[in-house]
């Protein structure tokens, strides 16, 4: 599967909600690979890449959270200046719209991983691959 499954959780702007989520995941022995938190004055959306999507979703739903699943694309770049800029220029030239993105650095390699949400995933993946950009498959990412 070329995509990566990301879990999104709705959070009210109440003290401790974020801690509650991470607590539940810890209890269930789930490892978070990457996360990003988008916030507004009223609520936040927590986006997570974990090593066991189904379990994470189940546990969070049991605890009463609203959970969604979105397909995103993970891209690997060298961890040095210009890595992200290069990718974004390619996308911009091909008129591909980025809904949101976030990034994390790998401990082991010299690479960084960029997570992108696109309107049209398949088209974006095709354009990235045409430009020799490395797209990481879901299974590989969860296990990293």
């Amino acid at each position: 599967m070329d995509y990566v499954e990301q879990i999104s959780v709705f959070l009210e702007n109440k003290a401790g909600r974020l801690a509650d989520v991470t607590g539940i995941l810890a209890e269930a022995n789930i490892n978070i690979r990457a996360l990003s938190l988008a916030d507004t004055s009223d609520f936040g959306i927590l986006r997570l890449i974990v090593n066991d999507n189904d379990k994470a979703k189940e546990e969070l739903k049991k605890a009463g959270f609203t959970v969604g699943k979105t397909d995103v694309v993970a891209v690997e770049v060298e961890d040095k200046p210009g890595g992200l800029s290069y990718i974004l220029r390619i996308l911009h030239k091909a008129n591909v719209n980025v809904e949101y993105m976030y990034a994390f650095v790998q401990q082991s390699g010299a690479n960084a991983v960029l997570i992108f949400r696109f309107d049209n995933l398949d088209e974006a993946i095709r354009i990235l691959r045409d430009n020799k950009v490395r797209v990481i498959k879901g299974d590989k990412l969860y296990a990293m």
Binding site: Q6, S8, F10, L11, E12, R17, A38, D39, T40, D42, F43, I45, R47, G64, F65, T66, V67, G68, T70, E99, Y100, R117
Partner: protein
């Protein structure tokens, strides 16, 4: 001041004889012209010939808001549309408001009633009226307007909104009578103070306030801040609009009902049984002169009691106490009637399953605010902030468009809204009127 001295001080026997005559005419007419009433009367086993005393009114069936909605829009009109010269409506669920109609004579009747009401509050033809009730489908603005012109006073049709400008107009045009909702009156006072305009320097002598419930405490506050006599006026579009009853300046103790046009009853809302004088219950009206949209025993859902004690003003018309509440869950927000179920149907447009929502009503700076909390369900949850904010905005916009009331929509986590065994507690009203 009494506008129509002959009628407003008519001895009870003459008034009741007039009521009976008009009631019989109305019952005969609706039986023939309104299929809805014919059917209801037949089901109740009663015909116009059975109505021979005012007590016989109790034999007639009740009419409810649902009946009006079921006959939307013109199903209960008693005259051909050609004879209808005015249409008003109150906000309803998407498309299903309560529609009422008026013939030329109904408009004249209404104007006479409003002239009486304005006069009861101290208005004369020499006065200038600042009319800040909304003009449009709502009956408030035009109701006062026609009454003012009938009385001969000078009416400024300023309608609602644009408060800063209203304060300027008040300063320059020197009106002497104010007509608007009581909470808007306090809001005007606030905005005036901010603009450096002292109400004490303005020319107001009386204000005639209604369209929402307000307490004696609020009256005291309005009188102190606006330097005028605050009078309560009552009405509802189904019965005619404002002008069904009004307080007199002399007593300010109960609203005189214009009984030559409307027969009031107080009933037990659960059993429908008529209650004796002085008992509190649901207010019911039967119109006895309206042509286009007569109503027989219309249940207002307002809670009050009747007081037949003589009044120092000299009027012989029965008084109703200031309305103390509702028998249903209707809210009045900035003078606009809102039913939680209406908000529900707007939310339903977005979420397929039964929405878990709650309405929180507050009064901030004397203006009502409505916050609609909606639990985020999986069916409409998105990982994009833009999408969720879009939903909040769309709900807010739809509520404004269909119900005419501004609401802040707040998405909350599931289960944050308390579940209850029986009827869900849809509304938290923090206002202390």
């Amino acid at each position: 001041m009494i506008y129509n001295i002959e009628i407003e001080t008519l001895p009870r026997e003459a008034l009741e004889a007039m009521q009976l005559r008009r009631l019989k005419e109305t019952v005969e007419r609706v039986y023939v012209t309104v299929p809805f009433y014919r059917r209801k009367f037949d089901e109740a086993g009663v015909t116009p010939a059975d109505i021979n005393s005012l007590k016989d009114l109790e034999r007639l069936p009740f009419t409810t808001k649902e009946d009006l909605r079921d006959n939307y829009p013109y199903g209960m009109f008693a005259v051909p549309m050609d004879n209808v010269v005015r249409i008003h409506a109150s906000s309803g669920t998407t498309g299903k408001s309560t529609v009422v109609g008026y013939t030329a004579r109904d408009i004249r009747t209404w104007a006479e009633l409003m002239a009486r009401a304005l006069a009861a509050g101290g208005t004369t033809r020499g006065d200038i009226i600042h009319n800040a009730y909304g003009y449009g489908l709502f009956t408030g603005g035009l109701g006062v307007h026609y009454g003012a012109e009938k009385l001969g006073a000078s009416v400024i049709p300023i309608s609602g909104g644009n408060t800063r400008r209203q304060v300027l107009i008040m300063k320059d045009f020197a009106p002497t009578i104010l007509t608007c909702t009581p909470s808007y009156a306090l809001h005007l006072a606030e905005v005036a103070a901010e603009a450096g305009v002292d109400f004490g320097s303005l020319r107001f002598k009386s204000g005639i306030f209604g369209a929402e419930p307000w307490s004696e405490k609020m009256r005291a506050e309005i009188e102190a801040k606006l330097h005028l006599n605050a009078i309560d006026i009552y009405g509802l579009s189904e019965v005619i609009g404002p002008g069904v009853s009004v307080e007199c300046l002399e007593a300010k103790n109960g609203l005189h009902i214009f009984e030559d046009h409307f027969i009031p009853e107080i009933i037990n809302p659960q059993t429908g049984e008529r209650l004796p004088n002085g008992a509190q219950g649901e207010l019911v009206f039967t119109s006895i002169t309206k042509e286009a949209f007569p109503v027989i025993r219309y249940r207002t859902r307002d809670v009050t009691s009747l007081d037949r004690a003589p009044c120092i003003c000299g009027r012989t018309l029965v008084r109703m106490r200031k309305v103390s509440g509702r028998t249903d869950d209707m809210l009045i927000i900035r003078g606009v009637n809102v039913f939680p179920s209406q908000i529900e149907s707007v939310i339903m447009e977005i979420e397929e399953v039964e929405p878990h929502y709650q309405l929180v009503v507050d009064r901030i700076d004397n203006l009502d605010t409505l916050t609609v909390m909606v639990e985020v369900g999986e069916s409409f949850f998105s990982d994009e902030v833009r999408v969720l904010q879009g939903i909040e905005k769309k709900l807010s916009k739809d509520i404004k468009e269909f119900l005419g009331v501004t609401a802040k929509v707040k998405l909350v986590e599931p289960k944050t809204i308390a579940r209850s065994e029986g009827k869900a507690q849809r509304v938290i009203d923090n206002r202390k009127i």
